[in-house]
């Protein structure tokens, strides 16, 4: 029983990480039709920003408020990079899908190369509070606190995004834009501002995933964003492009399948099962669990 609970909670921790990356990816694709392969870069910037701030920024550190400050710095850096990417590189290329893909793939590769050139290719130990290295007993299972932190963060982010979509003017614009972007402009709304906003939201969530992923894995490396992005894309497709709630459901399914199959089957079989699940969803329900709706 303890093993099942442990696997379920660590699976949910992984799901939380996927959700943090996938939620922004899904909103960006749903609203702006941009398949952003550079989304992993925002995660990398968040992770390295937090890592750098904890060691160098006055007031920041690996513990207590200093760690919160370091994470806030990492998230702010990731958000800023996401906004700049949208304004400088993506905005001139809306409706030019091939060029967008080339630019975002190129940016992703360049971002990883830049991180490697600056801080080296090897994984570095991530500064994290001592309590995140410890475990909490839940129904007999010793669950790592880093995973629980990720779950709590993902639930808070999900709640915040849904409240934003449901209760704010920009949330309304984003939900409408996911359905019919052209009609939003025909009502006199500059939808490009909403594009920048969803990039900022996605960048912030991915950067938070980078910072908390560092806590979860205990290290940070330049390629971390890219490897998580693959599963985030799978989550987005299974959940339905543009649906935050769909991404949450899909992330839970993918995280649990991976964790349980890897434990009870062969290591690595969970990843294959996830790809198989993606194929089944594409065959039976190509629009994903929730279809193209920015659910509030």
């Amino acid at each position: 029983m303890g093993t099942v609970i442990l696997l379920a909670l660590t699976g949910l921790g992984l799901a939380a990480l996927y959700f943090l990356v996938a939620s922004g990816l899904s909103l960006v694709f749903g609203l702006a039709d941009v398949l952003n392969f550079a989304h992993g870069l925002f995660l990398g910037v968040g992770a390295y920003g937090t890592w750098w701030a904890a060691g160098n920024l006055p007031g920041a550190g690996p513990d207590g408020f200093g760690f919160v400050f370091a994470v806030a710095f990492g998230v702010a850096a990731g958000t800023l990079v996401a906004i700049l990417v949208e304004l400088v590189l993506i905005r001139p290329l809306y409706s030019r899908t091939i060029e967008q893909v080339l630019v975002t793939v190129g940016l992703s590769l360049a971002g990883v190369a830049l991180l490697q050139a600056t801080w080296g290719a090897d994984a570095r130990p991530f500064p994290r509070p001592d309590w995140t290295r410890q475990v909490t007993g839940i129904f007999g299972a010793q669950v790592p606190n880093g995973g629980l932190l990720l779950i709590i963060a993902a639930v808070l982010v999900l709640g915040a995004i849904l409240a934003f979509l449901r209760w704010t003017r920009y949330g309304l614009v984003i939900r409408a834009g996911v359905e019919n972007r052209e009609m939003v402009t025909a009502l006199g709304i500059d939808v490009r501002k909403a594009f920048t906003l969803v990039f900022a939201i996605g960048g912030a969530a991915a950067a938070l995933a980078g910072a908390l992923g560092g806590v979860y894995f205990g290290t940070v490396s330049p390629g971390q964003g890219g490897s998580l992005l693959i599963f985030a894309f799978i989550v987005v497709v299974i959940g339905g492009m543009g649906s935050v709630v769909g991404s949450a459901y899909a992330a839970v399914v993918v995280g649990l399948v991976q964790q349980f199959v890897n434990y009870y089957g062969t290591s690595g079989l969970g990843d294959i099962c996830v790809v198989g699940l993606l194929a089944v969803v594409l065959l039976l329900r190509p629009q994903g669990i929730a279809g193209k709706v920015a659910t509030a």
Partner: protein
């Protein structure tokens, strides 16, 4: 009277197709001007070019002016904020949003939305505020699409086939609303239902093969059976009879006049 809209030598190419080939016409500052023509001649393309919704891959040339202001190459949201209201073909309400949210989306900062006017015209929208727009009937969705635009002051309304696919009784209701709206705002209307055209339109512009084939008084056009047959592909004998005006509410007339 100076026209509210003047279109000169408008040419639109999309994906290699030369859809509009030098279209020129004007819209009077009052009443309804109707844009007619057979299917596929470029009526919707004309409205979309005016409101700046030609696809990015499309090429638009010519001149479009609202008053003294040039509209071409300006972003759609600015044109709409400048007083160009657009009710698209097929309604395009946001199906996943409620009726109230659809209306709220059309509100603009710094102006007072005219909910009183909209709910006076469409009391149904007030009653169904919390209902998802996707679950409304076609007629109710059309009312929402028109109501959304009427929340703000407009200098010109572009309305694309508002009666398409609607039940005859609803066609009459929509025509009545447009008639009342046109008392205060000029309307450029694309419409296939000749009974509605007869009731609403003062001026007509007929497109054929991407060019203007005829302009003039709408009622004169409808009286010319040979002309309507050659330009619109339909005989308008019944449309020309004065008694038909009062029969707009009749299901039979509404159906027979459908092009």
């Amino acid at each position: 009277m100076e026209p509210i809209l003047s279109v000169e030598e408008l040419s639109v190419r999309i994906s290699g197709l030369h859809i509009l080939q030098g279209v020129s016409f004007t819209v009077a500052p009052t009443g309804v001007t109707v844009l007619l023509g057979r299917n596929g001649v470029g009526k919707t393309t004309t409205l979309r070019a005016i409101v700046g919704l030609t696809p990015p891959a499309g090429e638009v040339r010519g001149t479009i002016r609202m008053g003294a202001q040039s509209l071409l190459a300006r972003p759609t949201h600015r044109l709409v904020r400048g007083g160009l209201g657009y009710v698209p073909e097929d309604r395009c309400v946001f199906a996943g949003l409620t009726v109230a949210e659809n209306l709220r989306l059309a509100e603009r900062r710094g102006t007072t939305p005219a909910y009183d006017k909209v709910f006076a015209l469409f009391p149904e929208l007030d009653r169904r505020g919390r209902q998802r727009a996707g679950s409304l009937s076609g007629g109710q969705q059309q009312m929402l699409a028109i109501g959304r635009v009427l929340l703000n002051d407009n200098r010109l309304l572009l309305v694309d086939e508002p009666t398409k696919g609607l039940a005859p009784k609803v066609v009459t209701e929509v025509a009545e609303v447009l008639e009342r709206v046109a008392e205060s705002v000029p309307v450029l209307l694309v419409e296939q239902n000749l009974a509605v055209v007869r009731r609403l339109a003062r001026d007509a512009v007929v497109l054929a093969a991407g060019k203007v084939a005829w302009t003039g008084d709408a009622h004169e056009l409808l009286l010319e059976t040979a002309l309507t047959k050659s330009l619109l592909g339909v005989g308008s004998a019944e449309a020309a009879t004065p008694s038909a005006r009062s029969e707009l509410a009749s299901p039979a007339v509404a159906r027979e006049d459908q092009l």
